[in-house]
């Protein structure tokens, strides 16, 4: 089963052909992400997957992703941070955004000895303005944004 893909195309734009992989098991957020991405640019498409396994398959595929967005808390024992590590291994330099309901200080504790390098972090519940700003910035900066939160 392929990831669910949402795409719409208009006139050429800075985000034409930009593609995002979203790993989130709460499907109620799909509607919100669709609107947030549309508000950034109608040309952004995204693949939606609900499990870390599907995300790993997508990351191992030839499909290019300009950004990966993953929830930290997933069903089972795998976290979004584990998926980020997989992304780093399979796609060095892959821009990544991690989101979670956990507080930023708790998130830093979870990082343990990895605190020098970690993905940008978006707290939940999602603030649509902050979410839109972070996604726009990560798409604009591309792989330069890879370690920006860790520096």
């Amino acid at each position: 089963m392929n990831p669910t893909t949402t795409h719409s195309t208009t006139q050429s734009s800075p985000n034409q052909d930009k593609r995002i992989l979203i790993l989130e098991d709460d499907t109620s957020l799909k509607l919100l992400f669709t609107a947030i991405l549309r508000s950034i640019d109608m040309d952004i498409s995204f693949d939606w997957v609900s499990t870390p396994e599907r995300a790993t398959e997508a990351l191992a595929s030839p499909t290019h992703y300009d950004l990966v967005i993953a929830d930290y808390s997933l069903s089972g024992n795998t976290t979004g941070l584990d998926v980020w590590e997989t992304a780093c291994r399979l796609r060095p330099g892959q821009p990544f955004l991690l989101m979670s309901v956990i507080a930023v200080d708790e998130f830093l504790k979870l990082l343990g000895n990895r605190e020098r390098e970690y993905p940008p972090f978006l707290p939940k519940p999602i603030d649509v303005v902050k979410c839109r700003t972070m996604i726009s910035e990560l798409l604009r900066r591309g792989s330069e944004a890879y370690c920006m939160a860790g520096k």
């Binding site: 109620s28 669709t34 609107a35 947030i36 549309r38 508000s39 999602i126 303005v129």
Partner: protein, 123 residues
């Protein structure tokens, strides 16, 4: 996710940001999100009640997690807080307090429904 005692049923700032996004991206976004909560929350609560009967903490944790997320996205922070407590108790396997918490979620959901219906009528 804990709240101050004065936390409103619906955080107006969250709704107003959603309405702003709606105007830019999707003319029915907020109504669609609200309808989604109205249809999914009772189902999730029923699944939690059923899981209490069978002692299935995993289902309670999963459904509470999604309930928390759906409520928080619409600014229903008190309901999200109660769902977060449910989730935490289920994760720890502490099922004793869960029936009372579910009753709290049910009551709060009715308040949330009333507030969100009013919000839709105003638009």
């Amino acid at each position: 996710m804990t709240q101050d005692p004065g936390t409103p049923c619906i955080d107006p700032k969250v709704l107003s940001k959603l309405y702003e996004l709606q105007d830019e991206a999707d003319p029915h976004l907020v109504a669609d999100l609200i309808r989604m909560l109205f249809s999914s929350a009772p189902l999730r609560i029923s699944r939690i009640v059923e899981a209490i009967g069978t002692g299935n903490a995993r289902v309670i944790e999963r459904e509470s997690h999604d309930l928390k997320s759906s409520a928080a996205n619409l600014g229903a922070l008190r309901m999200a807080g109660l769902a977060a407590q449910l989730e935490q108790n289920a994760r720890k396997g502490d099922l004793a307090a869960i029936p009372a918490l579910v009753e709290g979620v049910k009551r709060e959901f009715e308040l949330v429904r009333g507030e969100l219906e009013k919000s839709l009528e105003k638009r």
